[in-house]
């Protein structure tokens, strides 16, 4: 089977790649393009470590074929910061120590970005339900949720 040609906008840049039909978008990001920020924790959509934003929607890149990316716009964890300036969500994750091992962190940050894009003022319960698809085994979610709520406040211009 010949490889498939795919053209997509990834983190603001036009990207072209060849992939095998059965390769997931996660495989493509990691093994073809070399963006290894999205992680494989399960490969079945149950952990959220591979989260990306596809045409404005939060999705698991492991549940999408690479060929489906043709013509789409994708944001990965590598595209969240503006150059060397961290996004407020990233900054708040650091300040609140909302990461321990850091493996689930890229997925959580991408998911939080999608949450706050859609709902800039979530309640704690809304944040917890939105992030229920992002497993974290280190933190017990406490500091993660605090970081999310604080980042939301900063992005609304309500806090430092």
């Amino acid at each position: 089977m010949a490889k498939q040609y795919v053209s997509a906008t990834i983190n603001g840049e036009q990207s072209e790649f060849l992939c095998e039909t059965q390769q997931s978008m996660l495989d493509v990001l990691r093994d073809v393009i070399g963006l290894t920020g999205a992680k494989e924790g399960c490969g079945s959509g149950d952990c959220g470590a591979c989260s990306i934003i596809l045409d404005g929607r939060l999705v698991c890149s492991c549940l999408m074929l690479g060929v489906e990316a043709n013509g789409t716009t994708i944001t990965t964890i590598e595209g969240i910061a503006q150059g060397d300036k961290l996004h407020p969500i990233q900054q708040k994750f650091l300040e609140h120590a909302a990461l321990q091992c850091g493996f689930c962190t890229p997925g959580l940050i991408v998911a939080t970005k999608a949450l706050l894009d859609e709902n800039p003022n979530p309640t704690e319960t809304e944040a917890r339900y939105w992030l229920a698809g992002n497993l974290c085994r280190c933190t017990g979610y406490d500091k993660v949720i605090r970081a999310v709520m604080d980042a939301a406040a900063v992005m609304r211009g309500e806090a430092a």
């Binding site: 095998e20 079945s44 929607r57 698991c60 492991c62 549940l63 999608a114 339900y129 229920a132 698809g133």
Partner: protein
């Protein structure tokens, strides 16, 4: 080695031709949230994937003759964000809101959830309760099929090899009508339903039920539409006696299995519990007493 082909046709005709012409196993891809998991686990080894998302009309929601038409490939998250559907069919919306994670809802579709033909699919009892009609396209043209006739057994549907669902039609809503869906899972999110229950009702001005559809998931090989339970509701308000009868009817309809997600005994009891709770929410909504989320 895999010889998997992929095509993303831009018309119904092209898609149907691809499906009809495939010599091996052809699978329709919409959201992919079940298909990719099955491929990865090796349970499913398709030779051809037909991605239907580029077909005009298969994604999107429109109002038609007072009812709604939902494109078969529309992502759950799009349905959840639709104000009109939230008002008319809150139960169906909340069922979609319960499928997997936020991430999964960004991709999963009603057609995929229905055609995966899992008895535990969250949106399916809500679709059954809603009396949705599937618009099926294939080599022989278009046909309209009540959704409860689509799944036939776990993982099997009544669709022919060259057929797929283009869209769903939701009927016109009479006044004082609403629906609700609840499912029971061990956690608060991310689990497959141990039991799911969807109920749609129409009330008269006195609050008496004039029409009802009751559906249960995960208690039999396919999602069930319970005519007996619906009949118990019609002609009654939700008094204690009616609730008790509904509970009993739901339990009586169960033919579950013991598996890693629940026992026969537990599923049966919880089916009764959920039927009562869902009916209460649906009645309240239909009577205009509540508009909030059920979970």
């Amino acid at each position: 080695m895999s010889n998997l082909s992929y095509a993303a046709p831009t018309s119904v005709d092209d898609a149907v031709k691809l499906l009809a012409g495939s010599s091996g196993l052809a699978k329709v891809l919409s959201g992919g949230t079940d298909l990719l998991v099955q491929m990865r686990s090796g349970r499913l080894k398709p030779d051809l994937i037909v991605d239907t998302k580029k077909i005009p009309g298969i994604i999107g929601i429109r109002e038609e003759n007072g009812g709604f038409v939902i494109g078969a490939g529309t992502a759950g998250a799009v349905v959840e964000a639709h104000a009109g559907l939230n008002k008319a069919w809150p139960g169906l919306v909340e069922a979609l809101d319960l499928i997997g994670s936020t991430q999964v809802q960004g991709r999963c579709s009603l057609a995929g959830n229905l055609c995966n033909a899992s008895p535990a699919a969250d949106s399916v009892p809500a679709l059954f309760a809603a009396g949705a009609i599937a618009v099926v396209v294939g080599s022989k043209g278009k046909r309209e099929v009540p959704v409860e006739q689509i799944p036939t057994a776990p993982g099997r549907t009544s669709l022919a090899k060259d057929e797929f669902i283009l869209e769903f039609k939701l009927p016109v809503r009479p006044a004082r009508s609403s629906d609700a869906y609840l499912r029971f899972i061990p956690r608060t999110e991310m689990d497959i339903a141990v039991v799911g229950c969807g109920i749609s009702v129409t009330l008269n001005e006195a609050g008496v039920c004039t029409a009802a559809r009751v559906s249960l998931g995960a208690v039999a090989p396919t999602v069930l539409l319970l005519a007996d339970a619906a009949a118990i509701l019609v002609g009654h308000t939700l008094d204690a006696d009616t609730l008790a009868k509904l509970d009993a009817a739901a339990q009586a309809a169960c033919k579950p299995i013991n598996d890693k997600r629940g026992t026969i005994e537990y599923r049966t009891k919880v089916a009764g519990v959920l039927a009562r709770r869902v009916a209460a929410i649906a009645f309240d909504r239909a009577a205009g007493k509540s508009t909030g989320k059920a979970h």
